[in-house]
Symmetry: C2
Subunit: 390 residues, 2 copies
């Protein structure tokens, strides 16, 4: 009951007692009693009266203005950290480059340094809780990373407990794609969607699944691991040890590999030039080459989009979502990628399932991970009050 | 509240007032009042006292013994009809061959004849409600079939309302795979599973998806339509008009087509013999040929299993289910099919997702559809009492 009040205030803003009573199907007296208790806990309070519509004006309830959450979103090549208020508006945020392969001690030390800096900036001594996303499978209940293909050294590392010890507050750990999906649901294009997919194309490829408004994690917590769906019987070796995985064709690391090959073999003169000038190439350089009119670079992007579209078409037939959001660094490569993903997905799926299916690019950028991580911990912090009344 | 009591009694059998109060987190007084109201409605009643454990024995509550549901499960080539009690035990059932392509008037007339016969057999004048499954996409809320590829003449036909008019009771319509999944959940191998897939390989191929104990239908109601996932860029023409669909490789209709080709070209001497003797071949004849040691027939089954396994591997990576149940006529072809499906699915999925994943054959047969259809209508009949207390 109290958790539901807190979630409504988080997602919709200040509500009158009457509105809360209506939404929850309970009496105003019950709401008043619960709000008093939430006030004692420092979580919610009355903030005046709602606009009148003739009768006596109902008291307006809002979250405590001093609630602060910390969101930490760790990707393969960089991390973002931010402080939000109770409604998950970002008050301060920082992003830095950081290679996940340095292992948990170093990466988490960087994250905690950034966290302390951003807390100082926002004048926060101790957040109510912190959410963390990492780019690989997570045992959600134990709060540890499990056999993450692109995260050497992280397997079994107790990320949640280590960070909780450092920060002195409750922490939740989830994989980065779940965190991004939840951020999109709170503040992005998926606000109105109940059943949607968030597909991240970064160094790797993964998918967050939302069913009826809640994250779906699967029985072992590894639902959405679409990067290792096999799209070909042979093909390049994947970081997971198999061949033919989507990720090994279409992820950021695969694109960087293909860019280097295209430069070395001379198939792409622009990429060859960039390689000579920079000494190395990333997926982003393919976008630069496309902007300079390089036809082979454009083909690399189309091939990537084709692979992603192939897998999405299968998922659309299976899951029949109301929306697909595409995010991750690789979306910075420009419109050709989205065009190819859409074209293949729409062509290969059932007409019934794609009739009203938007496939759109996330507009939240790095903030999506921060907001999503903050939302996960907000749900967890509020949850202890779930059955307070039962 | 009342719906929840009825569902608990349906799924677990007679429960004491104390047990009901515990499960639902309400007082015994509340339970007593609700049971009285359910008695007035003819749905539940007190049936004596529970076994004593020292104190005063709690009153035992059970469903009314006169509750009857009708389940109708229509497949592409046959239909099953049955009468169940409130706990969905089948009291009488009948199955007949019937070609779905004869159109809704003829097929529904056959179904209603069988329904009346089975009602007479079980001494039922009027069931509390009827559930129907049909082998194609359904608009669940409107109760009509929509653009079903293998069901000419059914598009837009008001199946639910037509049957409700004939039977004079509430009716729900769903697709056959959802109905089978729900039947498996109630009385089959999926009883303990919260998140599982039921894959039917019949004339076509489809999948029922259960998320946290409830059917997941997707935003347009066509989730689970995996028969039209493309597993190859070319390949045989599918009934849906596309090429390369799973169903066009691995479904019963595809197997019958391949059996005929193998007979005509002489690649399978046994199938050639069967074709000459019978004048036609079905998928089942491939099983006969395998039993007689025909190597090419065995290869046909393996190819079919390979295609199904390819798609299941993708779905396992995406959905991370706790169980996959395989059902449908084609499973009658024997162990080679299941062996191939398992082999490909396990090999191509993430180890984390397949570590504890059983892939098993349904043991319910035709009764699965009857029980599932009865369960769907039981939920719908109980649902009006869902908010009776709010």
């Amino acid at each position: 009951m109290q958790a539901r009040i807190l979630e409504l205030l988080r997602d919709e803003g200040p509500l009158s007692r009457v509105q809360l009573a209506d939404r929850m199907g309970v009496s105003r007296t019950t709401i008043a009693a619960e709000v008093t208790r939430l006030g004692e806990l420092g979580l919610a309070q009355e903030v005046g009266r709602a606009a009148s519509n003739g009768g006596r004006r109902s008291k307006l309830v809002d979250l405590d203005p001093d609630i602060r959450f910390l969101g930490i979103s760790i990707g393969a090549t960089g991390l973002s950290v931010g402080i939000t208020d109770g409604r998950l508006a970002v008050l301060a945020a920082r992003s830095v480059d950081c290679d996940i392969r340095q292992g948990p001690e170093i990466v988490l030390a960087v994250a905690l340094d950034e966290a302390r800096a951003v807390m100082a900036e926002a004048g926060v001594d101790e957040p109510l809780g912190a959410g963390i996303g990492v780019p690989g499978p997570v045992d959600f209940h134990r709060g540890v990373s499990v056999s993450p293909p692109i995260m050497p050294g992280w397997d079994g590392y107790p990320v949640r407990d280590a960070v909780a010890r450092e920060l002195g507050c409750p922490v939740v750990l989830d994989n980065d794609v779940n965190v991004l999906a939840v951020g999109e649901q709170h503040a992005g294009v998926a606000r109105a969607a109940r059943d949607f997919l968030y597909v991240k194309i970064g160094t790797g490829i993964g998918c967050g699944i939302v069913v009826d408004g809640d994250l779906y994690r699967g029985v072992d917590g590894c639902a959405g691991d679409i990067g290792h769906i096999r799209i070909s019987d042979d093909g390049p070796l994947c970081a997971c040890g198999n061949t033919g995985c989507l990720e090994a064709y279409a992820g950021g690391a695969a694109l960087a590999r293909d860019a280097r090959a295209a430069a070395r073999t001379g198939r792409s003169p622009v990429l060859a030039e960039l390689l000579e000038a920079q000494g190395e190439l990333s997926a982003a350089d393919i976008g630069v080459a496309v902007a300079r009119g390089d036809a082979y670079a454009l083909q690399l992007i189309r091939d990537s989009g084709h692979g992603v579209g192939q897998v999405l078409a299968s998922l659309v037939s299976f899951f029949n979502p109301s929306l697909i959001v595409i995010g991750g660094r690789v979306t910075g490569l420009g419109h050709a990628l989205l065009a190819e993903i859409r074209s293949v997905t729409y062509r290969r799926s059932l007409p019934l399932a794609t009739g009203n299916l938007p496939i759109v690019i996330s507009e939240l950028g790095d903030q999506g991970g921060v907001i999503g991580a903050a939302r996960l911990i907000s749900g967890s912090v509020y949850a202890p009050f779930h059955d307070a009344r039962a």
